[in-house]
């Protein structure tokens, strides 16, 4: 990894949201209350730093649910370690664990 992780409070919050099961952009926005212009660049940064990885949902699953395919994000091992470190730095993060609510549209 060329660049180290940049864990501002906002970035740590996004990492925490992914760990809590909010695994695509819209639910992360809903869980954190952050605007799209903050969440998506942060996701790119985290992925570039190899703290998360992304994969597209299979089209057949999306077709069955009659919605576009989602791009899912998942913590890597380095991401889990970074999240543990950031929880020590930001103790309030541990109290934030909003339940995942996937909109049914």
């Amino acid at each position: 990894m060329a660049d180290g992780p940049r864990l501002s409070h906002t970035t740590a919050l996004i990492l925490h949201s992914i760990a809590a099961g909010h695994v695509y952009g819209y639910t992360i926005m809903e869980a954190t209350g952050l605007p799209s212009g903050t969440v998506y660049p942060a996701l790119r940064r985290l992925e570039k730093d190899e703290l998360i990885r992304s994969n597209w949902e299979r089209q057949s699953i999306a077709d069955a649910a009659q919605r576009p395919a989602r791009k899912y994000y998942k913590l890597t091992r380095a991401g889990e370690e970074a999240l543990d470190a950031s929880r020590k730095r930001y103790p309030m993060l541990a109290r934030l664990n909003p339940p995942e609510e996937v909109p049914d549209r």
Binding site: G4, L7, T10, P68, R89
Partner: protein, 261 residues
């Protein structure tokens, strides 16, 4: 939803072409969940994301990241500008001897431009020392070098504007003023975006707060040094926070959150 898609399409032009397809696909996919009333606000965030992707996935960004790379890039641009100046000064000599420019005149011409840029001197306080005298001196020297290196570029722009003078009225005056302002603005903005300790570009900018929720809070942006030297808080209004950007130095206890580059 058509307007939202148009915004996404416009924003996608800012993303690097190699990543544009997947970038647009993700934004369109996410747009499906957004309430149509919020779609425009949601899609406006795509511009920031596209700029971020361009900035972090193109080689130009990497060239400007470190202070040495920035000065090297500017030096190369200044050399090109000097060559351009010498090349375009030839047709100017046909019109008036005043514009006859020989290679040995170039330093003097740049010195005049430098004096013109002396108005930037008060801006050296933007070097934002970290409390360490050496770091402040380095930041000031870096700013001075940048101001020096943009002079050949400004001078070549002046000559280009003079060439355009007979074709477009007021082009030299207005054009030079615009180029000078934009260049100075870049010099100062670049300085403000750098860590005062290591002078690398600050990274991971995030917006904090909202203009409509300012009671006992502030709103603005936060950027951080990738090496963990500190955080820069920039407010969008002086009513809620110090008007000048505020540098928060991180001590060694934060080092566990950063990895050495």
């Amino acid at each position: 939803m058509t307007r939202a898609l148009l915004i996404l399409r416009a924003a996608s032009l800012l993303a690097p072409s190699a990543r544009r397809g997947e970038w647009l696909r993700e934004w369109r996919s996410e747009l499906w969940y957004i309430d149509p009333r919020d779609a425009t606000t949601f899609c406006l965030g795509a511009f920031r994301d596209a700029v971020f992707v361009r900035r972090h996935y193109t080689r130009t960004a990497a060239r400007m990241q470190s202070p040495a790379a920035c000065l090297g890039f500017l030096a190369a641009a200044a050399a090109l500008a000097a060559l351009l100046t010498l090349a375009i000064s030839a047709p100017l000599t046909l019109r008036t001897a005043y514009w006859r420019l020989r290679p040995r005149d170039l330093p003097a011409a740049c010195l005049i431009m430098l004096l013109f840029s002396a108005i930037l001197l008060p801006a050296t306080r933007l070097a934002m020392g970290s409390g360490d005298g050496r770091a402040t001196a380095r930041a000031t020297l870096f700013l001075a070098m940048k101001i020096l290196l943009v002079q050949p570029i400004l001078f070549s722009a002046l000559l280009l504007m003079v060439l355009l003078g007979p074709i477009i009225p007021f082009a030299p005056q207005l054009g030079l003023l615009a180029i000078w302002i934009l260049t100075c603005r870049w010099v100062l903005a670049d300085q403000r975006r750098r860590c005062p300790v290591c002078l690398r570009l600050l990274d991971d900018p995030v917006r904090i707060g909202a203009p409509s929720e300012t009671f006992l809070e502030w709103y603005g942006a936060e950027a951080m040094c990738a090496r963990g030297h500190g955080l820069l808080h920039s407010t969008e209004t002086s009513a809620v926070y110090p008007a000048r950007p505020r540098w928060l130095r991180l001590d060694r206890s934060w080092s566990g959150l950063f990895r050495p580059l």
